[in-house]
C-alpha cells in the first residue's frame, strides 16, 4: 500500500540499482566525477539534477504532442538550459562558495546525457506524472553513485564528512590519527573518482550476473 501503484514504484526503484543511469546505462558521467571530492558538492549536484530532470521531464511530457519532430532536440536543449540557468542563479544566491566549487559543472548539467536520454526515451512518450516519477527515479540512481563516490573520497581523502571531522583531528592527533593513520591524499585527486566507479561497477555486476557483458 502506498500512494504509488506497482508500475509507478518500479519507475523509481529500477534506476536505483538494476538500471542505474551511470553504471548500467553509461550516461551522465561527465559532470558526475569531477566534483565528488566533497560529499556536500555531490549532494548539491544530485539535488540540482533531480530538479532539472524532474521538472524537465514534466515540461517535455506536457509539450510532447505539439513539438515538431525536426526541432525536438532544440526544444529539449532550450528547456534544459532554462532550468539550469535557474539552478545556477539559485546556487549563486544561496550557496556562493559551493557554486564556486561546482563552477562550470552546473552549466554542464545541460549536456548531461541522462537528461536528454530520459527526455527521448520516456518523456516524449508518456504522461506528466509518470515522466516526473521516471525523472526522480533516474536522478536518485545518479545521486546514489555520486554520494557513494563523494562519501569515500571525502572520508578517506580528508577524514571529514560534510565538513565534520569524523576520524579525529589530524593536527592534534586525536581519534584514529593517534594510531598513525594518515589521510590518503590521493583520494582527493580526480582520477580516483573513476577508479571508485569502476569498483562500484565490479560490485554491482558480481551481485547481478545478468549485467555482465559478453566477450
Amino acid at each position: 500500500m502506498g500512494l504509488l501503484s506497482k508500475k509507478d514504484a518500479k519507475l523509481i526503484m529500477d534506476p536505483l540499482l538494476d538500471d542505474n543511469p551511470i553504471t548500467i546505462q553509461v550516461l551522465g558521467i561527465c559532470s558526475a566525477l569531477a566534483i565528488t571530492a566533497e560529499l556536500k558538492a555531490s549532494i548539491v549536484m544530485a539535488v540540482s539534477v533531480m530538479f532539472v530532470l524532474g521538472m524537465g521531464n514534466v515540461v517535455i511530457s506536457l509539450m510532447r504532442n505539439v513539438i515538431p519532430s525536426k526541432i525536438r532536440i532544440i526544444v529539449q536543449l532550450v528547456v534544459v538550459a532554462a532550468l539550469v540557468i535557474i539552478v545556477d542563479l539559485v546556487l549563486k544566491a544561496f550557496a556562493y562558495e559551493l557554486s564556486k566549487t561546482l563552477s562550470v559543472f552546473v552549466g554542464l548539467i545541460i549536456t548531461n546525457c541522462i537528461i536528454m536520454g530520459r527526455f527521448e526515451a520516456f518523456a516524449l512518450a508518456n504522461g506528466p506524472w509518470r515522466s516526473f516519477l521516471d525523472g526522480i527515479g533516474n536522478s536518485l540512481g545518479y545521486g546514489l553513485i555520486l554520494i557513494i563516490v563523494g562519501f569515500f573520497r571525502e572520508l578517506l581523502g580528508s577524514g571529514t564528512l560534510l565538513g565534520f571531522k569524523v576520524l579525529g583531528d589530524p593536527i592534534e592527533k586525536t581519534g584514529v590519527y593517534a594510531f598513525g593513520y594518515e589521510n590518503n591524499g590521493f583520494m582527493l585527486l580526480s582520477p580516483m573518482a573513476l577508479i571508485i566507479v569502476g569498483l562500484i561497477i565490479w560490485v554491482q555486476r558480481s551481485r547481478n550476473t545478468a549485467l555482465i557483458e559478453d566477450e
Binding site: 554542464l108 545541460i110 549536456t111 582520477p191 555486476r205
Partner: protein, 251 residues
C-alpha cells in the same frame, strides 16, 4: 610564447578527459575501435575549433558585464553609454548551446556534401557531438578562465580538441589490446575501462610539472645576480672614495 604555453597546457595538463572528465559518455561508447575513435576525435577537434572562438566573440560583445557599450558607439567611454551596467552573462548557457547546435548542424551538412563516406562512418555521432559535454565545457572554461583574445580562443579550442583526441585514441587502442586479456567477468567492458582511464589520468598528472615557472626562475636568478653586481660596484666605488679621502687626509 603565451600561445605555445596555452597549447601544451590544454593538451597535457588540462586535458579535457583526464583532468576534468568532459565528454566521457561518447568517450566510453565510441572507444571500442581505433578507427571510429579517430573519426570522432577529428570531428570534436573541428567543432571545438569553430565554436570556441565564436562563443568568445559572443561573450566579449554581448554577454560580459558592460559588453554592450559598443551598441551606441561608446566603447572608448563606457560609463557614458546607455548600456553601462548591463550584465547578460546569465544567458551564457542558452546562447552557447545555441551556437554549438547550429555549428554542429552546419558541420553535418558540409561533411555530408563533401565527404559522404566520412558522414556514413560517423553516423549518429555527429549530431551527438552537439550534446557532448566537451564542446560546451570548452566554451564554458574559455569563459571562466577569461581567455583574452580571439587568437588564444582559437588556440584553446584546437588544443583542447587535440587533448580529447589523444585520450580517446589511446583508450581505444588499449581496449583493443585488452580484448585478449584475462579481465574478471564483472569488470569486463565498462568497469575495466573506468579503471584504466583512472590510471591514465594519474599518468597524465605527471605532466603537471611541465610548465612550472622555469623560465621565470632563471629570469629572477639573473635579476638577483645583476643586482648583486650593482651592489658590489657601488661598494667598490665607495671604497675607492674612502681610499682617496684617506689619501687626501693623510696628506
Amino acid at each position: 610564447m603565451e600561445h605555445l604555453e596555452l597549447f601544451f597546457k590544454s593538451i597535457f595538463i588540462d586535458n579535457m578527459v583526464f583532468a576534468t572528465f568532459l565528454g566521457m559518455c561518447s568517450y566510453l561508447a565510441v572507444s571500442k575501435k581505433v578507427s571510429t575513435a579517430v573519426g570522432l576525435g577529428a570531428a570534436v577537434i573541428f567543432v571545438l575549433a569553430v565554436t570556441v572562438p565564436l562563443n568568445w566573440l559572443l561573450d566579449q560583445y554581448i554577454l560580459k558585464p558592460d559588453a554592450l557599450v559598443w551598441l551606441d558607439g561608446n566603447s572608448a567611454t563606457p560609463k557614458l553609454s546607455a548600456y553601462y551596467g548591463y550584465d547578460l552573462s546569465f544567458l551564457s548557457f542558452i546562447l552557447f548551446i545555441a551556437t554549438i547546435a547550429t555549428m554542429v548542424q552546419l558541420v553535418e551538412i558540409i561533411v555530408e556534401k563533401f565527404s559522404p563516406s566520412l558522414y556514413n562512418s560517423l553516423g549518429i555521432f555527429l549530431p551527438l557531438i552537439a550534446v557532448n559535454c566537451a564542446i560546451l565545457g570548452g566554451s564554458l572554461f574559455m569563459q571562466s578562465r577569461e581567455i583574452q583574445s580571439i587568437g588564444l580562443a582559437l588556440n584553446y579550442g584546437i588544443s583542447s580538441g587535440i587533448g580529447w583526441f589523444l585520450a580517446i585514441v589511446a583508450i581505444a587502442a588499449i581496449r583493443e589490446k585488452i580484448r585478449y586479456s584475462n579481465v574478471p567477468a564483472p569488470l569486463r567492458g565498462l568497469g575495466i575501462t573506468f579503471i584504466i582511464t583512472g590510471l591514465m589520468a594519474i599518468g597524465f598528472m605527471s605532466f603537471g610539472g611541465m610548465l612550472t615557472t622555469d623560465g621565470k626562475k632563471e629570469e629572477s636568478n639573473t635579476e638577483t645576480t645583476e643586482a648583486k653586481i650593482e651592489v658590489l660596484k657601488q661598494e667598490q666605488s665607495e671604497s675607492t672614495q674612502i681610499v682617496e679621502v684617506s689619501k687626501i687626509t693623510k696628506q
